[in-house]
């Protein structure tokens, strides 16, 4: 009530100067700030500071122990002549190119499959999700076994079922990135669950009326399902881009960046510069370059999505 009162008085004061904004708009703007206030507080107190600090550090030379020394654009200039930046960036981009589309497509298809009314639905959903939960060292251990060239299950299946000699997977310069992407595919559970949840929100009448109009499976999927869940497709795409460009742990544990730098991902390099070379300044510069890359890609997705994503509730 108190809030409403103050809005009222302010409105009477302001209306004399600016006539355009309606009381409803103001009330809404006030409510907006109230609703996002937790994030604003968190940003000011905990997340914003370190981000600005890292931006500052990217213009310095800083070994954590002594105080940072200003080097201007030095780190950024050095970055362009750094052989490993190019190597690691191309490994990362290749990975993202494989992982992002496959994650989205497989995630969506699995979600649709698991949304069918079948016996043991709960079991299937849980089973498909299970590999996504296994973490860190364990998952690396499991996959280096499964994809072992000589006695791994995958290669022996390939041999027995199709008569193909499987590749060297993690130990081959050509296959190491596809192997990482394949490994990531069993961890598609997160994406799948998000799609699954979005499928639950679809209004049933639309399908029923479409069915009456004679729309069949594929047409329904393209013309009704995809537009309706497009906000979530956008979400999963952006998250997959961010996640792919920040991939690191798998390579750190399984291949140590090898063979011949082929799985030396960008963030792996960044981690090395920060924690094994103690060049926090340079690492920060690397981080901000990655930030810009991801930012541009995200903006691109958002730009494309303007034409394609359909929001039930659009406002700006």
């Amino acid at each position: 009530m108190h809030l409403d009162h103050s809005v009222e008085t302010q409105r009477t004061v302001r209306t004399k100067k600016k006539v355009k904004r309606s009381p409803k708009a103001k009330r809404q703007e006030r409510a907006f700030w109230l609703f996002i206030s937790p994030w604003v507080i968190g940003f000011i107190c905990f997340t914003g500071g370190p981000i600005i600090a890292s931006l500052f550090l990217s213009f310095t030379s800083y070994d954590i122990v002594s105080s940072p020394i200003w080097v201007g654009l030095g780190n950024y200039i050095h970055l362009f002549s750094d052989f490993l930046v190019l190597k690691s960036l191309s490994a990362t981009a290749f990975y993202a190119l494989l992982a992002v589309p496959f994650t989205i497509i497989l995630g969506l298809l699995l979600a649709i499959l698991l949304n069918q009314k079948v016996k043991g639905q709960a079991f299937f959903r849980t089973a498909f999700y299970a590999p996504s939960i296994i973490s860190g060292v364990s998952v690396a251990f499991l996959w280096s076994w499964l994809l072992n060239p000589d006695f791994g299950v995958v290669n022996s299946l390939l041999k027995q079922l199709f008569g193909i000699d499987g590749p060297n997977w993690f130990n081959s310069t050509n296959w190491v990135i596809p192997s990482m992407a394949l490994m990531q595919l069993t961890a598609v559970g997160g994406t799948m669950v998000i799609f699954l949840a979005s499928l639950q929100q679809l209004p049933k009448e639309l399908y029923e009326s479409a069915a009456l109009d004679g729309a069949k499976g594929w047409a329904k999927f393209i013309h009704i399902t995809v537009p309706l869940i497009s906000p979530v497709i956008l979400f999963n795409t952006i998250i997959a881009i961010i996640g792919s460009f920040q991939i690191f742990t798998q390579a750190y544990v399984i291949t140590q960046g090898g063979p011949d730098w082929h799985s030396y991902f960008y963030v792996y390099y960044l981690f090395d510069t920060a924690f094994s070379q103690y060049r926090m300044g340079y690492a920060s510069a690397l981080a901000w370059v990655l930030f810009i890359i991801i930012f541009v890609l995200t903006m691109l997705s958002l730009f494309v999505s303007r034409r394609l994503v359909y929001y039930e509730y659009e406002n700006k």
């Binding site: 968190g42 949840a197 926090m280 995200t298």
Partner: protein, 286 residues
């Protein structure tokens, strides 16, 4: 449910082919997704020499006592308890505050909103490796290191991931809902608590599950902030299982990993019914 029966009628001619196809796909998928899990279970039930056998054995000698051994080697119960309470607290807090913030971004008009939302997204794009130390210094100044506070307090700002996720869900709900409430004289809190929150339960459950998995498996956060082994969560306790130079006891590590994935797996099994419960949005159109 007259429409329902009509719909079934349209589909009946293909019904059984479709059913079979679905089951075939499900079983193929099952084979792919359960491969790592089965191998994990098999390794957990082996003796140490068996884990190194050549060629590898699928059928173990069923060393069930490995699971008991795990509890003897490390304070596994303690780690589990730490993980459980820490995860519950952070999941509740993150999901609640994120939902709140997401509502603002999804349903309310304001100047500068697009820029602010851009900043929210941006916080995800900077690799955490470079903000870790500055953030540590903040909590060090506050005297809060070697406790869970540095991991819990920031959750009041929600998480960018969850805010983004829930915003997308809220934007998928028809705006007539809001208008109906406004006509009835309700405020934004009414819209949020009475309408959106209940209607977006699948989204909320998803967000909570995602956050749960992230917290449950997070190694680096606890590694940086905690310095008392009694306070370690499971993820860190598990990582400590790998031996530096002598042989890593893979069988025990896998047994421990299985115990570690059980709680999230059970949670998922029971939570997934919330996804099934599709909400007929039009029902509330009133």
């Amino acid at each position: 449910m007259t429409t329902q029966s009509k719909k079934n009628y349209v589909h009946d001619e293909y019904g059984w082919i479709r059913k079979i196809m679905i089951y075939v796909l499900l079983i193929l998928g099952l084979a792919f997704f359960l491969l790592p899990v089965v191998w994990m279970l098999s390794t957990a039930l082996k003796t140490l020499p068996e884990t190194q056998a050549f060629p590898p054995k699928w059928i173990p000698s069923f060393q069930w006592h490995n699971f008991v051994q795990v509890f003897k080697e490390v304070p596994f119960g303690r780690f589990t308890w730490n993980s459980v309470w820490y995860t519950i607290v952070t999941v509740c807090s993150t999901t609640f505050f994120s939902a709140f913030v997401a509502f603002g971004f999804a349903r309310l008009k304001a100047r500068g909103k697009a820029v602010l939302f851009g900043i929210v997204l941006s916080t995800m794009m900077l690799p955490p490796q470079v903000t870790m130390i500055p953030q540590y210094l903040i909590f060090n100044k506050l005297g809060l290191v070697d406790s869970y506070w540095p991991l819990i307090i920031p959750t009041i700002g929600g998480s960018a991931f969850t805010i983004f996720l829930l915003r997308q869900f809220y934007m998928g709900l028809p705006k007539e809902l809001d208008e109906a409430v406004e006509i009835d004289g309700g405020g934004y809190f009414t819209i949020f608590f009475r309408i959106l929150l209940p209607l977006s339960m699948p989204g909320m459950a998803t967000a909570a599950i995602m956050e749960f998995m992230y917290r449950w498996n997070d190694l680096i956060g606890p590694l940086i902030y905690l310095s008392t082994p009694d306070k370690y969560p499971l993820a860190l306790g598990l990582a400590n299982f790998t031996a530096a130079f002598a042989q890593t006891p893979w069988n025990l590590l896998m047994a421990a990993s299985i115990i570690a994935i059980l709680p999230p797996l059970l949670l998922f099994f029971f939570a997934q019914k919330y996804f099934i419960r599709g909400i007929v949005i039009s029902g509330t159109k009133g």
